[in-house]
Symmetry: C2
């Protein structure tokens, strides 16, 4: 699974494997998308063999065949070792030490590059997107949960095992709400799509947030992030207050990561990027408010991702084009 530095295949296939769908793209040598296709992710017991079939079929349908003119990269939602083994993936059924790269390579031939989906999205924005050419950047995916990836000193930070970038489970309040991971107050309890819905349900308790609750059919427990978004877009002050609280939680984590990593640019991606018009200003306001010694430093840029929902697939396609140094293939 070594990258050939400098080689630019004519057709770079990338697949972003999500819990619901696998989204594939073929990227041409100029960085433009020349094909795109989505298939359902098989679920349930014994879904690993069908999942391999889907990924092999999608690769072939997008024009992959082993050889120097093609490359294949896959982004997966979980802990991926540096050797391309998917250790665990909460949103894929039955995954444990799944040698996804090797198994697809056996079927299709050629090297298959596998990395975490957040890292893939970071690569897309770093190489061809909102953080192009930036040597120190962080990407956060705000979806059902929070994922991410980062670049430091012009190289992807994958960590010792390949597990770096699990920003969503940084605890920001040890007395906060329980997280499925077993702890309390993980950042993604607040600053994700589920977090937005929780903040809205809290605001709806005690007869608040009436417009949003009405949109949700009258049941405060049925309130979802989309209801808050559409009411906020129409100027509902209670919905805007929930957006502001959500933005404060997002900014708190960004501020924590800035203390640790001092990035030049922070990119926000994931499903919530479709509400960037609502979220960007309050996130920036709170970020500037919460940042440590904000008056003594150039403020890092905070932007939404350019590739939107395609970032993971595009970044997976770009994995084979990274040099060994950029990919940080130096460690075990």
């Amino acid at each position: 699974m070594s990258a050939v530095a400098g080689a630019v295949p004519a057709r770079r296939i990338g697949i972003d494997v999500g819990g619901t769908n696998a989204l594939g793209v073929a990227v041409g040598p100029d960085g433009k998308i020349i094909a795109q296709e989505q298939r359902q992710t098989p679920r349930g017991a014994d879904s690993l063999a069908p999942l391999l079939d889907v990924l092999v079929g999608l690769s072939e349908s997008l024009g992959y065949s082993a050889g120097p003119e093609n490359s294949l990269g896959i982004g997966v939602p979980g802990l991926v070792t540096r050797g391309g083994v998917l250790r665990a993936a909460p949103n894929l059924d039955g995954v444990a030490n799944f040698e996804i790269g090797r198994l697809i390579s056996e079927r299709l031939g050629g090297d298959v590059h596998v990395d975490n989906d957040g890292t893939c999205a970071a690569v897309a924005e770093w190489k061809l997107g909102a953080a192009e050419g930036v040597d120190n950047m962080i990407l956060i995916t705000l979806g059902t949960g929070i994922g991410g990836g980062m670049v430091a000193n012009g190289a992807v930070v994958r960590g010792h095992n390949g597990f770096a970038g699990e920003f969503g489970h940084m605890v920001v309040d040890p007395n906060g709400p329980p997280c499925p991971c077993g702890r309390r107050g993980c950042w993604e309890r607040y600053a994700s799509g589920s977090g937005l819905a929780m903040l809205a349900r809290n605001a709806a308790a005690g007869n608040g947030l009436q417009r949003v609750v009405r949109d949700a059919g009258g049941d405060p427990q049925a309130v979802r992030g989309e209801h808050v978004q559409s009411a906020a877009r129409e100027g509902d002050p209670e919905a805007l207050a929930v957006v502001d609280e959500f933005a404060r939680w997002v900014a708190l984590g960004l501020s924590n990561l800035t203390n640790a990593l001092d990035p030049e640019t922070i990119i926000l991606g994931g499903g919530l990027a479709d509400g960037s018009d609502l979220y960007l200003d309050p996130i920036k306001k709170w970020y500037h408010e919460l940042l440590y010694q904000a008056d003594l430093r150039p403020l890092p840029h905070v932007k939404f991702a350019e590739w939107g929902a395609l970032a993971g697939a595009v970044g997976a396609a770009l994995l084979p084009t990274l040099s060994p140094a950029e990919r940080s293939d130096t460690s075990a």
Copy 2:
């Protein structure tokens, strides 16, 4: 201020500038300390010129003279730009955009390498200490506050501006006690020497922690970390409970940093390292308890620093020996 990769001067001087003392060492080509000296850090208004005098005098006393046979590195407690300018240092009086490297170089000749003290300590442990040869490591200094430094992909992570590693001001409870930095619940409110004292004072409120309060002269407000340490060493169960709570807060931050960075090794240094016999086991216990998906990964090693109080000075001495890639001199 460029490093000459591979050159090993016969006498490498390093100075760790603290709020109370400036500690200097001279390191020989074999990595052994050949001289060591400490002087008081000047305080008060107009202390910058006297501070320069102290650092110049200390360098000369340790045998520094400009030339290829000598080198000089300085670690400072604050935000240092990549160009060696000390932007701010809460524990040094009157510092704002202090061009410490250039000013000392004007007096002594030669290149002067300046970096954050936490980064220096990380370099000492990475190059000649408890994390020797480890490509992905984090060092945390547990002192009055919390500082740190880190290495990823075999290079120091300094961030875009040089401000990376400010782990102490990562917020771990937004409703926590106020921090002098203006926010609430920063990690160093709990997991530093001041944090240990605060946890002890909380435990003493309502007539608890009697043995420790007695040692502190009967005043719960006078309880300091040292009182807890000595009572815990003698087996006082209430003091041991405070140590356990302290260890949990330390571990919470280590777990957060592991999620972000996936290090192979975490080194604990700073003043609290002299209580490593008390703290290490409970910190490891809580770290394993709090770590995300601990059963799916090799647990990072958690160790105390080998260089103890000398780490900052030794690391400063080693700064000029880092290659440009190791020092991450690639960015602006």
